[in-house]
């Protein structure tokens, strides 16, 4: 009895060992094969498991849906000051006061199911409930005056919404979407659209799109298959790029040379979005702390050594910021005073001290400035784990201390950060400002600096407004309104000059750097990428409409 039992045990052990061997040893390795083949492999930032939704109105819509599949009327190049390129439309024109927009559509475009793309589809798309344009932009009516002309009428001037209307409104087919009951739960697994690609296969780990045979431009897209993979870590994407298994990704890599040294991958950096210090600036709306004194903000502004921050916290990849929030050189024509082209790149502790002293502050025995016996003491927070921001905050703390301003640096969780900026209960935060999608800083002035975009401390900001600093200045508000109502460059420049003078002096957001936006692409097997010399469109793989333009433009290398 005992003997047989033991034999069974030995057999089991041997089995387990064999299994262990199978799992731990000697597996064949052919993973490094074929960077070539036909498929272009993309990481656009999705994580596993993927949820299949190509519905352009879903917040977690898969990246290929916007651009490669669904299209907008025009494509805007946010890296340059140039006219938009027509995708589904030829041209557009505003009437005198900006309340009527006439769009001329291209002829002979079809949906990928073979039906004709008609002016009625455009009308349907603009009126579609998910866009909510009646409330969002005051759309009064959308009308198809003939087969290829659509006239949109608004209750207010829409010059500043050009991008939103023409570059960010997805064209959907009426014959499909009129039967969708509830767009919030619609998955749209087989999207009918006009873009260069159609969906082929979807899984939890990746999805594949193939060339749309009905695409309006002959011979495009030349790359027939594009596979989007989901990855959970930047490191994996970096490894795959280095191994030549991934062809296109937009993400942050501190040492781009590690990835490009294989001779396959090239990189391009297109800084777009400003990083700033949010300051809760407005006492009238309930802000508390010494940073509400404009002198303190000005002193901080000159005490910061942006050059060091750029090199140490952002590994030298960021762009230099302008205190006027014009993205240089793209927005050059909107910069009123050349002195505001770039914020000081080195620290000037003496100047900071002067500003504070002339505002009535005195240096205490501990080396820090204060007023009436109370030392200035500011709390600076950043989101725990955003290491570049954490490092920048630490540097700012040290630099401020050298200039005699006491800044306590700390990190907080995501939620705390979000609550703090939403409700205005903070002193200083290292945070981001959303860069504009067109060569015009208007959207930043309106959403981040105008008094209509903010509420009192304690209440949450309205959706789509970002004025976390609670800054409210009637002069700015008036100029923003004036800029919105005109399409005349001279009048607009004048309004912007007023705004710039105010915000450069008041500094409700203390500018730091322009964030790096890195894109990595396989220039050995594919040609036609946007490059430094020919930056025809914003290059990242997650770039929405522009990603579709890039894909349609690519060709396999011979």
């Amino acid at each position: 009895m005992i003997r047989t039992k033991r034999r069974a045990a030995i057999a089991a052990a041997a089995g387990a060992a064999a299994l262990a061997l199978a799992f731990t040893g000697c597996a064949p390795s052919d993973s490094g094969e074929s960077g070539g083949g036909d498929a272009l492999r993309v990481w656009a930032g999705s994580q596993t498991p993927l949820t299949v939704t190509f519905n352009p109105y879903a917040p977690n819509v898969l990246h290929a849906a916007l651009g490669p599949i669904y299209e907008t009327l025009f494509s805007f190049n946010k890296t340059a000051d140039e006219e938009p390129t027509g995708l589904l439309a030829e041209s557009y024109e505003f009437n005198e006061d900006g309340t009527q927009l006439t769009v001329a559509l291209k002829d002979g475009v079809t949906w990928n199911d073979g039906e004709d793309f008609a002016a009625d589809d455009v009308v349907f798309s603009f009126e579609y409930e998910a866009n909510d344009y009646a409330n969002q932009v005051g759309l009064v009516s959308a009308e198809a005056t003939d087969e290829t002309t659509v006239v949109l009428t608004f209750s207010t001037p829409q010059f500043t919404n050009e991008f939103k209307l023409l570059g960010n409104t997805w064209m959907i087919p009426e014959h499909v979407w009129s039967e969708v009951d509830d767009f919030t739960t619609f998955l749209d697994e087989e999207p009918v659209a006009t873009g260069p690609y159609v969906v082929e296969a979807t899984t939890e780990a990746s999805y594949t799109v193939v060339a749309n045979e009905q695409f309006r431009e002959e011979g495009k897209p030349a790359v027939k298959t594009v596979q989007y993979v989901a990855l959970d870590a930047n490191q994996s994407a970096q490894d795959l790029l280095a191994a030549g298994e991934l062809d296109w990704a937009g993400m942050f890599v501190p040492n781009p040379d590690d990835v490009t040294s294989n001779g396959i991958i090239s990189t391009i950096n297109t800084p777009q979005d400003p990083t700033v210090l949010y300051t809760c600036a407005n006492v009238d709306l309930g802000c508390a702390g010494e940073q509400t004194d404009v002198a303190v903000r000005q002193a901080l502004n000159v005490a910061i050594d942006r050059g060091t921050i750029k090199d140490k916290a952002f590994v030298g990849l960021t762009g230099d910021i302008s205190p006027a929030f014009t993205l240089m050189p793209r927005d050059e024509k909107w910069l009123a005073d050349p002195a505001n082209e770039v914020s000081p790149q080195t620290s000037d502790a003496a100047a900071a001290g002067q500003i504070l002293e002339s505002a009535g502050y005195v240096k205490g025995a501990d080396g820090f400035y204060g007023k009436d016996g109370a030392t200035i003491e500011l709390d600076l927070i950043s989101v725990d784990g955003w290491t570049d921001y954490n490092d920048a905050a630490k540097l700012i703390g040290e630099q401020a201390a050298e200039a005699g301003i006491k800044v306590n640096v700390g990190t907080v969780q995501w939620q705390e950060f979000s609550d703090a900026r939403q409700t205005g209960q903070f002193e200083l935060i290292v945070g981001g400002v959303i860069g504009t999608s067109v060569a015009d800083p208007y959207q930043i002035y309106k959403d981040w600096f105008s008094g209509t975009s903010t509420v009192a401390v304690g209440s949450e900001l309205q959706p789509g407004t970002w004025n976390f600093s609670r800054y409210s200045n009637p002069v700015v508000d008036e100029a923003v309104a004036a800029a919105a109502a005109t399409n005349d460059d001279a009048a607009k420049r004048e309004a912007y000059a007023t705004i710039q003078t105010e915000i450069v002096r008041d500094l409700p957001y203390i500018p730091l750097v322009i964030n790096a936006t890195q894109t990595f692409f396989n220039s050995k097997d594919f040609t036609g990428w946007p490059t430094e010399d020919d930056l025809y469109v914003f290059p990242p793989a997650w770039g929405s409409s522009s990603a579709g333009v890039v894909l349609a433009n690519l060709e396999p290398a011979e």
Partner: protein, 332 residues
């Protein structure tokens, strides 16, 4: 019989308590999933007010008007029908589906790795204890060092050496996503791909956990070997192998087996870091994303599965112990 009745009642009460806690805990957390999603989108540039409105329409606001008690009753009602709700991060995928898809990967890989690690650790530990004082003792510090290295670091190093530089193993995934763009299919090539992709992740788990089993087993072995019945066995002239297997190792392994059952229970929780590093499909990642995005339904679903399995593993262990060791029944 009384013993079993008592145990079963105890576990039922525990189960009720954990499920109720599971209901309560996410509601004590601050924050709103819609807020988080908006702020994340913001990092990729301009987002329109329309998008924001749609997000709020879809995800709803977190304030529910009904009383906590009504929510609690409704929660039980849905739970009994197997409805775990809809995930916010993966909207509109049902939580039960997400978990069902992730579980086989987790149980397959983490489960196997845990078993391998246990068998290896206890086996080597027995030998190390038996041959204490010889070169075999070096196994102890070398494996415990591996265990004390932070797992993510070990995993990243192994990926960098064996996957990126030597190209022996694939870098990511549960299978070759480039080779099988249409997903899993029932072929031997696919099975081979799964095994190939599981090897390195399994290796990292085994490397980082085998030390604990080995160390515990070796020390138990040393103390067991000084017991009187071992001396008796030696005095009887039994073969050393028999003493090692039937007398020493068998008794020394009892605590390890208890620990093993609990470890097996937590296998369903997956290995969060491993799944992140290797982009491996699994439950740990779901939990991670749920917490990151304040996805209450997904969080509750994952916690529920984990607690139930841990309880079940404990329950089974309790019963097994009651059978093999009568003392446990008496004093329970």
């Amino acid at each position: 019989m009384k013993f079993y009745a008592r145990r079963i009642t105890f576990y039922l009460v525990t189960l009720w308590a954990t499920i109720s806690l599971n209901f309560l805990l996410p509601r004590l957390m601050p924050g709103d999933p819609a807020d988080i999603m908006i702020a994340k989108l913001q990092r990729n540039g301009e987002i329109s007010a329309t998008t924001i409105r749609n997000i709020q329409l879809m995800l709803g606001s977190s304030d529910d008007d009904s009383s906590l008690w009504d929510q609690y009753v409704a929660y039980w009602g849905r739970l009994l029908q197997g409805d775990l709700g809809v995930s916010v991060t993966k909207y509109p995928a049902p939580v039960s589906e997400l978990i069902a898809n992730a579980l086989p990967w987790t149980i397959g890989l983490v489960g196997l790795a845990t078993i391998i690690s246990f068998v290896l650790g206890v086996g080597l530990g027995a030998i190390a204890g038996w041959r204490r004082g010889t070169w075999v003792d070096h196994l102890v510090p070398s494996t415990t060092v591996l265990q004390s290295i932070p797992y993510f670091w070990l995993a990243l190093i192994l990926v960098s050496i064996f996957a990126v530089n030597l190209r022996w193993f694939p870098i990511i995934g549960g299978y070759d996503v480039f080779e099988f763009p249409a997903g899993p299919d029932p072929s031997w090539a696919f099975v081979a791909s799964v095994i190939e992709h599981g090897t390195l992740p399994a290796l990292t788990i085994v490397l980082s956990s085998v030390g604990g089993w080995l160390f515990g087993m070796r020390n138990m072995m040393v103390s067991t070997l000084s017991e009187d019945y071992i001396v008796t066995a030696e005095a009887k002239g039994l073969r050393p192998r028999r003493i090692l297997g039937a007398y020493a190792a068998r008794n020394a392994a009892i605590p390890s087996i208890a620990g093993f059952s609990i470890t097996l229970g937590t296998v369903v929780a997956g290995s969060i870091v491993m799944e992140q590093v290797f982009t491996y499909p699994g439950v740990g990642k779901l939990m991670f994303q749920a917490v990151q995005n304040n996805d209450y339904a997904l969080m509750q679903g994952v916690f529920l599965v984990i607690t139930i399995t841990v309880l079940a593993a404990n329950f089974i262990m309790d019963l097994v112990y009651g059978t093999i060791d009568p003392r446990a029944r008496q004093h329970a």
